[in-house]
């Protein structure tokens, strides 16, 4: 059962009128309040001024005229296709088509053997890539953790290389600087078979968190974003304010601010390279008001992430957002309910590229191998909802009902045999549906234990490299590859 790219949109938290109201508010924010910046963006500011955008150097403010913003937003493609190398997981990001996968930059992982949190490593990233490659409902591999065992200078090349080697699904990550971006583009081009092929079938894309909420440009990342856009590599314009600290406490205010930040990012990208593919990257979040940390698992995160897709859809740009975060520290019941709720809402909202949806714990701080297996199950169920209920003559089964007749049963009906594998979601095996007796005989294993056993089986399988040997050798000769 393919549960990828199905259409959401069944849950629309904002009415058409509310979408318009928020959109207008966002344009007002850009025109009246504007964006601020720090030093190092002279070229970007020059480009904006040439386009007719007012830059007040004394106050370090950029004021975007409404008309100009909409003119630029109209240049962004309505559809962005991100490619896989396994032939099964190309992502058609358009309209309300839903894709869900991993994401984050966790620095801790729950150790598979000890069950304790420890710093995540490059090998963890590789093993998680191999695991995700085998999980059918995880549609892409956005690096879920940071390899804390290698130096920051080695991140960019090694993160992308490791992901590309471990899985054939689409790979996304961020980079630290422009040099890193260029190295990553070079490696991706080697894997793709040349720059032009990479451009036509982008097998990687780049997260560019250009905005520091509220309404401030991050110098380094803005420059990276523009460089990626010049190279026609799809970028996700990530901005992730927290309601109550870096955006208003109210959901409407947070959505308006995020939409403004996104429109500014889209404007900068389209002025840099008109028509360049990008993903609207508003990620509404919430502050934990007692600690000011990030609240991941709140139900409002699910509501706002559905709403933000409506705003992206309003300006006709595919969107990147978030679901499946939890504030639980281990794969427990709280993790289950928070993930299921936020992921279902984001999926039913029609979000195009939902990251964080597999593996995360402790908000964005940790991942667990077992959690990826559990979340594969949750994503599958969410996407099954999108499939809806088919009502045609075959599915209505009038002939079957007639032939079974009153008082009969459907267990041996050919109609049952025909549809029994497809009509219900079957899952990856982590869900327990056994009788209590059988469950007890098999060791009364809870979901965490069952998932752990599945992970071990999947990681014990023979390793498979998604980078051809000759290309792999060439990459090793050119770059300092640390994956052993």
């Amino acid at each position: 059962m393919v549960l990828k790219g199905l259409s959401g949109g069944q849950y629309q938290p904002l009415s058409r009128g509310q979408i318009k109201t928020i959109h207008e508010a966002s344009l007002t924010i850009l025109e009246r309040t504007g964006f601020s910046y720090e030093s190092g963006l002279d070229d970007t500011l020059g480009m904006l001024k040439d386009a007719g955008i007012r830059v007040d150097h004394q106050r370090s403010r950029i004021f975007f005229p409404k008309g100009l913003v909409m003119e630029q937003a109209a240049k962004a493609p309505e559809r962005v296709v991100l490619f896989s190398r396994d032939g099964k997981n190309d992502l058609d990001l358009s309209e309300d088509r839903v894709h869900m996968g991993t994401g984050g930059a966790a620095i801790k992982i729950i150790d598979l053997e000890t069950g304790e949190a420890r710093p995540s490593t490059l090998n963890d990233l590789y093993q998680l890539g191999r695991l995700v490659d085998q999980l059918d409902n995880v549609h892409f591999f956005l690096r879920p953790c940071i390899p804390t065992d290698i130096s920051a200078e080695a991140y960019d090349v090694n993160v992308f290389y490791t992901c590309l080697k471990a899985t054939g699904k689409h790979v996304m990550a961020g980079v630290n600087d422009v040099e890193g971006l260029n190295r990553v583009l070079d490696i991706a081009a080697m894997v793709a078979g040349g720059r032009e092929k990479l451009r036509q079938r982008p097998l990687i894309s780049v997260i560019t968190s250009f905005a520091i909420s509220p309404l401030k440009l991050d110098t380094q990342t803005t420059i990276i974003m523009q460089e990626a856009v010049r190279n026609h590599i799809p970028v996700a314009l990530s901005c992730a304010p927290m309601a109550g600290s870096t955006s208003p406490i109210t959901m409407a205010g947070t959505l308006a601010q995020i939409h403004a930040e996104q429109l500014a990012g889209v404007t900068i990208c389209q002025l840099t390279n008109p028509g360049a593919p990008l993903l609207y990257g508003g990620i509404p979040g919430m502050a934990n008001l007692t600690t000011m940390g990030y609240l991941g698992g709140a139900v409002e995160c699910g509501m706002m992430n559905a709403a933000i897709h409506q705003l992206a859809d309003y300006v006709k740009v595919p969107n990147y957002n978030s679901s499946g975060l939890t504030d639980a520290k281990v794969p427990d019941a709280q993790a289950g309910w928070e993930k299921a709720t936020t992921s279902l809402l984001a999926a039913m909202g029609g979000s195009n590229y939902v990251h964080h949806a597999a593996g995360m714990l402790e908000s964005m701080i940790a991942v667990a191998y077992e959690q990826f297996v559990m979340d594969d199950e949750i994503i599958g169920m969410c996407c099954k909802v999108l499939k809806g209920i088919e009502v045609d003559s075959e599915h209505l089964a009038l002939d079957a009902i007639d032939s079974v007749g009153p008082g009969g049963n459907f267990m041996t009906s050919p109609h049952t045999l025909k549809y029994m594998r497809d009509e219900f979601f079957s899952g990856n095996g982590v869900t327990d549906r056994k009788s209590r007796d059988k469950w007890a005989r098999e060791g009364s294993r809870d979901s965490w234990t069952r998932a752990r056993e599945m992970v071990k089986k999947m990681l014990d399988k023979k390793e498979k490299s998604y980078i051809p040997n000759n290309v792999d050798r060439a990459i090793h000769e050119k770059y300092n590859i640390l994956l052993s």
Binding site: E38, N176, A287, M292
Partner: protein, 209 residues
């Protein structure tokens, strides 16, 4: 003895007009400014800090209390002798080079200030050299380094290394913080302490001096 509890209570209740009114009425009754500061305001803020750490108070409330405290101190300032105003300690705080995030760091700065520290908040994207210069100029006893990005965390180590190189390491206690920072990381880079939130940062700063 004068009852300072209402002042502390008003502060904990984030009621700025009430705090100012009570401070003024204490002054009118001839209570020494120094006593109002120590037994009323700082005592109140200590409780706010505790409540914050226990998650009994929302941070926006804590900040409102800190603002009320600041306004009250402004009334008292002209009446306090220089010796009365002696800070609990001098702190230099900033976000390390390459990192432009400042909300968490500002929260820590405000809380330290409210707890009676003299705080020099340098801002964001601060080089090791700048930190070192400010430590010397201000005779700081505590250096607080902040980073939000995993990619700028290494700058914390570099800054500490520079402090060591310049021979200032014995002079200052170094605290680190920020979302991705852990106790483990703090130990590894040779910091004196790590705090997961602003309330604990204040507690730690007090304990270290």
């Amino acid at each position: 003895m004068y009852d300072f509890k209402p002042i502390a209570d008003a502060l904990i209740g984030c009621d700025k007009p009430k705090v100012l009114e009570l401070v003024q009425s204490a002054l009118d009754r001839g209570v020494a400014a120094k006593e109002i500061l120590n037994d009323g305001l700082i005592a109140g803020m200590d409780i706010v800090g505790e409540k914050m750490e226990n998650e009994d108070m929302f941070i926006p409330e804590v900040l409102m209390a800190a603002k009320a405290m600041g306004a009250a101190v402004n009334i008292l300032k002209p009446l306090l002798a220089a010796t009365d105003m002696k800070a609990r300690g001098k702190v230099v705080i900033g976000t390390v080079r390459g990192d432009l995030h400042d909300i968490g760091k500002n929260l820590v700065a405000m809380m330290l200030e409210s707890a009676g520290f003299e705080v020099h908040n340098l801002g964001v994207d601060i080089s090791a050299d700048k930190f070192i210069e400010e430590i010397s100029v201000n005779n700081a006893e505590i250096l607080c380094l902040s980073a939000l990005l995993t990619t700028t965390m290494p700058m914390m180590k570099e800054t500490i290394d520079q402090v060591v190189e310049k021979g200032l390491r014995d002079k200052v206690k170094i605290l680190v913080g920020g979302a991705p920072v852990t106790q483990n990381f703090a130990d590894k880079i040779g910091a004196d302490g790590y705090a997961p939130d602003a309330g604990s940062a204040v507690k730690l700063a007090k304990a270290l001096l």
